[in-house]
Amino acid sequence: MQRLKRIAIGLLVLVVAGAIWIPCLHLVFARPIAEFRTAAGVSPKARQLAARHLALWTDAELRKQELDRMRASNAEWDFMGRSFLVWSLANMALRDPASKPLYLKTIDQIIDETLRLEKEKGMYFFLMSYASAGKFVMKPDRSLFLDGEIALMLASRRMAEEKQEYKALLTERIDIITEEFGRSPHLVLESYPDECWMFDHCLALDAMKMADYLDGSDHSKLICDWIAMAKRKLIDPESGLLVSSFTTDYLPLGGPQGSSLWMVSHALQILDADFARDQYSRARRELGEITCGFGYAHEWPASWKGPANIDSGPIIPVFKISAGSSGMAFIGASAFRDDPFLKSLNSTLDFVGFSSRKAGTLKYCASNQVGDAALLYAATLGPLWEKIQARENAGAKR
């Protein structure tokens, strides 16, 4: 009897102690927002993350190990890791002119190698294996995933500093996308056979916007028409969020997915600022959560039921935390200056990201190269978009 009483008291004391500790836990991991993102210059965390990526691009063996690990799960991640890194370094080149030569050299190395691989091994090298199992509706077979992101890489490089060799490459890629939009009966292009992605469309349109900035072309009508179409056809009626993937006949495939939407809302900022803000606010309300000081994100709104997939990552039960959506939420929170959410996400990252620091470099063991590159992008985004917005604002005043 005495023993049972001791057990009961012991358990009660543990519950009380847990109730004291758990709400305080986030304080251990809470850091000032300036450690992750700064208005000017490069934040300490961005510098450390970038140092790790730069090391990967100077050490071929290390890079091979990292890419092999990712490609074993998803070949797309290899490609997206390159894209996010190029966009990040372009922003960093504008933030930190002293280190610009190093960043530009790495950007050029990545772009050149990516273009070489695309040419030598074909687009399927960077796509998941099911891409070659189906048939593309539009001919010839092209993936907007590759065309859009490569165009945005080239444009970002040129926004950071002009490089004549890339001018023709960007124009060629933009012309291909524009011509395909012109041939598409529904103004949507495939990334995989009869599978179109909101993420890829928005980034391709961003690349067009940048090409207009750089070369004086004008794709504003296409962009306007596409946004109008998306508002009419590609909005989930329950949540008001854009669906992430759909067929060439607008049939939604994956519903509104956080792993896409946070980036989509950021990409929309230079296409339609009000629509972008509306999408972020909805995503924040439907997908973003802060519990006991820790921020995280769901993959789907409550109104949509979907299975975990390669984009969402494993879904942690009860809280329905998606690793993919939570990682990409950094981009949304940073782009829309949602500091309370960004700070809480950063606390979660330091809590369960399992950081590994070596000689001034930082990586998150729970992440991978593409995840860390997306975090780096969240920590550095701003200058590229600001250049476009500044030109638009100046144009509007005239």
Partner: protein, 109 residues
């Protein structure tokens, strides 16, 4: 092996000994150190679906990653909780001891 609510506890009376909680806290800390020194942290990439190492098969790498996460969470959540619990118990025992001293030994008469 430690017996959490051992009959041989140094504590007498209805309250468990704070020492048990501290022993468990120490055990969790020790496990965490071992997992770290064993290099299991790098296998936590299983959380995003990436294999921790191409030198190990997927199942082993996943097991190591999941085991590290468990040990880490047990350490981060459990150790401070156990230490706080030990503190609460120590306070209770002190309070109970003071009360007993203040009230004096109870007479059976």
């Amino acid at each position: 092996m430690i017996k959490f609510f051992s009959r041989h506890a140094k504590a007498k009376g209805p309250l468990p000994s704070p020492g048990y909680f501290l022993q468990w806290a120490g055990l969790l800390f020790g496990l965490f150190l071992i997992a770290n020194f064993a290099g299991m942290r790098q296998y936590t990439s299983v959380l995003n679906g990436t294999v921790g190492s191409t030198n190990l098969d997927w199942q082993t790498a996943s097991f190591l990653g999941a085991a590290y996460v468990m040990v880490y969470l047990a350490f981060v959540l459990g150790t401070p909780t156990l230490m706080i619990a030990a503190g609460i118990l120590a306070l209770c025992r002190k309070f109970a001891g003071n009360k007993e001293n203040h009230d004096g030994p109870k007479s059976s008469a």
